[in-house]
């Protein structure tokens, strides 16, 4: 019975976050536009040679998603902070992890949509040849996104409520994301070039392990961080 209540709370948070973002369409549109802009800048940095761009596509894509996503993470707490809605939210009875789970799901949807847009633009800009193993590539994109969003949502719970939030979130988050970025970039790169060395399965296993650890750990730690 408690599980149904918890799940209802999670759904409520997801619905709340998505509708607030939906009402201010500017939110998602600008973050997606930023992702594309960053991709373009990477194109300038790494191109214009077509082969160089193809080699760098995986790395550029993930960094564009990361940099644009960082803004989304802080924003996901902004609404509550600006309207003072965080205290009333905490007054509601119920486990705190449901708040984190709700925001995690909402942010995953948000970042996932942005990821799709950035990937499609990236395929065109970086002249990427879509590989036969594209379903596996989609799996890598999903797993990588979950890893980014989970820690991003968790650290933003703190950074958004401190001074210097713009620098604190990346400073805390980026080094922690090194394993998921390495795994996602390497797996993507391998799959895009045919994975001759069969690296991708090992990286995907690491992605799964990372996602499990860094979804469960923040879930457990969230109440210590949001209450105070």
């Amino acid at each position: 019975m408690a599980w149904r209540d918890d799940w209802r709370r999670v759904r409520a948070i997801v619905w709340k976050d998505l509708t607030t973002e939906g009402r201010s369409k500017a939110g998602f549109n600008s973050v997606a536009a930023l992702g594309v802009t960053i991709l373009v800048l990477f194109g300038f940095a790494l191109g214009p040679d077509a082969q160089a761009l193809r080699d760098a596509a995986a790395g550029a894509l993930w960094l564009a998603v990361l940099f644009a996503g960082v803004l989304a993470f802080n924003r996901s707490y902004q609404v509550e902070l600006e309207s003072g809605a965080l205290e009333p939210l905490l007054l509601y009875p119920g486990a705190r992890w449901t708040i984190f789970a709700g925001k995690l799901i909402a942010n995953t949807i948000f970042v996932g949509l942005m990821l799709v847009i950035v990937v499609l633009v990236g395929i065109v800009l970086f002249q990427v040849r879509v590989p036969d193993a594209w379903p596996t590539l989609i799996l890598v994109l999903a797993l990588g996104a979950i890893g980014l969003v989970s820690l991003g949502t968790f650290y933003a719970a703190m950074a958004s409520r401190s001074r210097a939030r713009e620098v604190l979130l990346p400073l805390l988050l980026f080094p922690m994301l090194v394993p998921v970025l390495l795994a996602a970039m390497s797996a993507s790169k391998a799959l895009l070039s045919g994975d001759l060395m069969h690296e991708a399965p090992a990286w995907i296993r690491m992605l799964v392990a990372y996602d499990v650890i860094f979804v469960v750990a923040p879930l457990l730690a969230f109440e210590h961080v949001i209450e105070v």
């Binding site: 805390l172 922690m176 394993p179 650890i213």
Partner: protein
């Protein structure tokens, strides 16, 4: 003038620690001198091998501090004792110092060994990432004023950072070895293991002493903070 001793019953006393500190420094001098004098030039690297006597212990101590941060962070979340938070923070600061040292020593070894100051070697790169994670932890503490909030947040960030340590090592190593063979320094020096162990213990004693001293300093900082607040309240 009121003696400061009435509240300082709470503050840790130096006691035997002063002797321990003197012992630790003397032991370090002895261990390093022995290492420099007794070890023979390596077949491949000549005297460069001696850098291992500071580089390897520094790396081991760095890892130990991460374990300490993990332990005290958990302890703080469980028991909610402020002193545990201060111990974790002290361990993190000492860890940052030794992490930075390990990095610099690794680069100093790498320049003659590989010909470049930096080579995206697996262990060196991992150490750099861990250094950045530690800096993030210290930055968080610097940016949060409220002590309770700072302690809670640091504990969470410290635990997550510490459990990431092996994952960072593994992922960076895969990233490197999938494309290149890693080379390990090998040596024929019979004194090598002995000297490495003594230097490792020497660094361990220094680490313990430093964490303890930093913790005492943190307690004084906290006592000063509270005393300043109390004085301000009395004035009003």
């Amino acid at each position: 003038m009121t003696a400061p001793s009435d509240l300082s019953n709470d503050l840790p006393r130096p006691g035997y620690w002063r002797w321990f500190g003197i012992f630790a420094f003397l032991f370090l001098i002895a261990a390093q001198a022995t290492g420099l004098i007794t070890s023979i030039p390596d077949r491949d690297m000549g005297h460069l091998q001696k850098i291992m006597y500071v580089h390897v212990p520094s790396a081991w101590i760095m890892s130990l501090t991460f374990v300490a941060v993990l332990y005290y962070s958990f302890l703080y979340l469980w028991k909610q004792r402020e002193n545990d938070d201060l111990k974790a923070a002290s361990a993190a600061e000492v860890g940052a110092a030794f992490c930075g040292l390990t990095l610099v020593l690794g680069m100093i070894w790498g320049r003659p060994a590989w010909g470049v100051w930096w080579a995206w070697d697996a262990r060196l790169t991992s150490t750099l990432v861990l250094f950045l994670i530690t800096i993030g932890y210290l930055a968080l503490r610097a940016f949060v004023e409220d002590p309770h909030r700072r302690a809670q947040w640091s504990a969470a960030v410290g635990i997550l950072g510490a459990i990431n340590v092996p994952i960072v090592y593994m992922s960076v190593r895969w990233w490197r070895t999938l494309h290149q063979i890693q080379s390990n320094p090998s040596t024929v020096d019979p004194w090598y293991v002995f000297n490495l162990r003594t230097n490792a213990f020497a660094f361990l004693f220094i680490m313990i002493y430093f964490i303890r001293q930093r913790y005492v300093a943190a307690r004084y900082e906290r006592a000063a903070e509270l005393a300043v607040q109390a004085a301000a309240l009395r004035r009003n």
